[in-house]
């Protein structure tokens, strides 16, 4: 099955390169590794040397952080919880900070994760609202978040310590 999958990836890669007169090329090696993991992936967030995705196997989604140099996932202790469903993710430029929205126990939570410390921090919205989508700036010290309040979508800008 793996060789069939690899073959499909190569074909997709060739087709993609054939359709890119602009010099835009697929990163075939990395794409092959992503595909060979056998996991579905969505909601990509790129940093300089990192890719975060929501990946799922057997229907359960978790956040996966991939080192783009090695193409391998890196451990992220404390980032994923069995009782939480990630909704949206965003990486800082160096991949050190990751903002996320997750659902847990019927609540939607806005969180900030610091990879080197393995520390998860919950952020409050003021005024209260339901977060949906996040975007960190390069330093990871400014967060834009799409929030539902009173049936309207708004964007909050939150400075972070």
């Amino acid at each position: 099955m793996n060789w069939i999958r690899a073959g499909c990836c190569c074909m997709a890669g060739l087709m993609l390169s054939a359709c890119s007169p602009d010099g835009i090329r697929p990163l075939s090696d990395l794409n092959g590794r992503l595909a060979s993991s056998g996991e579905a992936r969505r909601d990509p967030s790129l940093a300089q040397e990192w890719l975060a995705t929501l990946s799922s196997r057997s229907g359960r989604e978790r956040i996966e952080l991939i080192n783009l140099r090695s193409g391998q996932p890196t451990p992220t202790p404390g980032l994923n919880r069995a009782d939480a469903q990630p909704v949206s993710i965003s990486l800082s430029g160096d991949g050190e900070r990751l903002a996320l929205v997750r659902q847990r126990d019927g609540e939607t939570e806005l969180m900030l994760y610091r990879r080197s410390l393995g520390l998860m921090q919950q952020l409050e919205l003021n005024p209260r609202g339901v977060p949906r989508q996040v975007s960190l700036d390069g330093s990871g010290k400014l967060l834009a978040v799409q929030v539902s309040r009173g049936g309207r979508w708004e964007v909050d800008l939150i400075p972070l310590p």
């Binding site: 359709c19 835009i24 090329r25 520390l119 964007v155 909050d156 939150i158 310590p161």
Partner: protein
């Protein structure tokens, strides 16, 4: 004495343990006149792209957070609906998913040169979401493939001039700062 390192470590991590405590405030500069979705900050935090409803069509809008003014986009006032905006370090490049006819496609606008870089995916695969690397060397696309989501990475370094933090560029045409 053995407790000293522990106390120091606790003090150092205190702001994070109070995880709970630093209360995030809503920053000034919000745009309350209409609904806004899918925010994307530039790497330097100066620019904010959002999707707004423009005459019933989801349209990307770019603002300078400091002055609050709208920044005109040459190629992105059409081909709606737009979705999933993403900006490079200094906001020179804005990537977004647009529509041409019945097909969805990614498009990167270079605000320095005014060029548009359309990215079409073969095999009737439409991009769903995207993320541009801060230095604009790579683009990640979420696509539907054989009934499930996949993420594919593209190398843009042969097409786009890389951006660096702090406004550094490999070349910097005079007077053309985005």
């Amino acid at each position: 004495m053995p407790r000293l390192p522990l106390i120091l470590a606790m003090l150092m991590t205190c702001p994070w343990i109070s995880a709970c405590a630093p209360r995030a405030q809503r920053a000034p500069g919000g745009f309350a006149d209409r609904q806004q979705l899918e925010p994307a900050l530039s790497g330097d935090g100066r620019l904010l792209a959002v999707i707004v409803d423009q005459n019933g069509r989801p349209t990307v809008q770019l603002r300078d957070r400091r002055g609050g003014g709208l920044i005109p986009l040459r190629h992105l006032n059409r081909h709606q609906p737009h979705s999933s905006p993403s900006l490079s370090w200094n906001g020179r490049y804005l990537a977004v998913i647009t529509q041409r006819g019945s097909r969805r496609m990614a498009l990167i606008e270079d605000r320095l040169t005014g060029r548009a870089h359309p990215i079409r995916l073969p095999g009737n695969r439409d991009p769903i979401r995207l993320s541009l690397a801060p230095d604009a060397r790579r683009l990640a696309l979420q696509v539907a493939d054989q009934g499930r989501w996949r993420v594919e990475l593209l190398d843009l370094s042969g097409t786009l001039e890389p951006e660096r933090p702090g406004g550094e560029r490999l070349s910097d045409p005079a007077g053309a700062t985005p």
